[in-house]
Symmetry: C2
Subunit: 257 residues, 2 copies
Amino acid sequence: MTTLTSSKGKLYLVPAPLDFMCSTQAALNQVMPEGTLQIASTIDHWVCENAKSTRALLKRLAEVHPLKTVLQAQQVTELPRQVHKKGDHVAAVDTSGLLAPALQGHDMGLVSEAGMPAVADPGSSLVRAAHDAGIQVVPLVGPCSLLLALAASGLNGQQFAFIGYLPQDAALRLQRIQALEKHALKTCETQIFIETPYRNEALLTALLSGLHDNTRLCLCSNLSLADMQVQSLRVADWKKKGLVPDKHSPVVFAFGP
Amino acid sequence: MTTLTSSKGKLYLVPAPLDFMCSTQAALNQVMPEGTLQIASTIDHWVCENAKSTRALLKRLAEVHPLKTVLQAQQVTELPRQVHKKGDHVAAVDTSGLLAPALQGHDMGLVSEAGMPAVADPGSSLVRAAHDAGIQVVPLVGPCSLLLALAASGLNGQQFAFIGYLPQDAALRLQRIQALEKHALKTCETQIFIETPYRNEALLTALLSGLHDNTRLCLCSNLSLADMQVQSLRVADWKKKGLVPDKHSPVVFAFGP
């Protein structure tokens, strides 16, 4: 159990390895700094996307760093359903009730299924609530697929935007791709987005039909893992090589001039 | 010396700790994963922003992980001047000549003064050249101030843009702040930007005068260090509290609805 003090606990943002839904796993200490593992192993109150995968992560953590509180005694609470469905940057979502342990003096951890919590994933409502309640927010260093993909792409890293998901409807998607490319060519801003793995191939097809031949397109998967893939080519070369993305792995897409 | 093989070397993107220009230093293994330190310690050909700070980083690395090649025998080459001044996403910059060691079979490292190379820093021209030369690009996990700031801000992490620097001219800066806020309020896209430390206070003043009272503004400094500061408040509350940013530390600014 966390030692209770008269002051509030902190909200730690704990990154998770990028192997969720992947066929290979990273050794935790290969992709997470000792400082992050050390702090994570002292936390016993968690807020997460999915309790099952959080417990699996804590089990992996226990293998490299003894947990202060045994797994069975850890409190793991999921973010409310509406946050998953609609995102949680809208004012309507109030997750402040989840911070009760921190108000009582317990350090808490926010964790996603992969990567940095509250980035390309829900959780920002909890972070906002922490700031509003005077709870100290401490982001910990760890892997983030968007960032690794951006650096590895060779695209402009001095100006970039993360778009989230493109529309599913084919006509709307093509329209969006062309609007984003027009913006990217004008401003040099790299456009980054993600897709549900089974739609990777359809998205690549749409990108190759919608983008100019000279635009650089990068696809990254299994980042930070042994079977990492980074492919950054002009659209014309993508067409020539006929490469196909894995339909089981999460892929980060990026393009720009 | 790296063992020469018939195949090409890799280009590793090696993150640096975030304490450059800061008064406190991080212990390397607290902010960098063992996997990153291990690989970095085997590299003996570097491309960097600044040779002096790269040698200082290698000295710190040697303290936690024995270097394969002694510091004095490491080859450290700076990116060309024009890259620093104008960025290197423009086609005119050709840094492919710096990759000669990789073509000869040596693994190479690209490193910045702080954080992830080629993100909010030059280096993307080298990464593009590596892709074009068939050299494998491997981004390594480590700290990145933009990412930590975004997660810690409580702002929308499911859609965001990194703007770089705002204009220095007061009128143009105000105009840009208001255009970015209009865009942020319409799209919910978080706006992230940076400033030269001695202009932090002037930028905060401009933000407080240009933004709506209800907009959330976050300032982060010394991320991942013992004296980390994360302040995320509505503009009205920034005005009430009269907080002033440190004029010596690099600050990441972010705002949104």
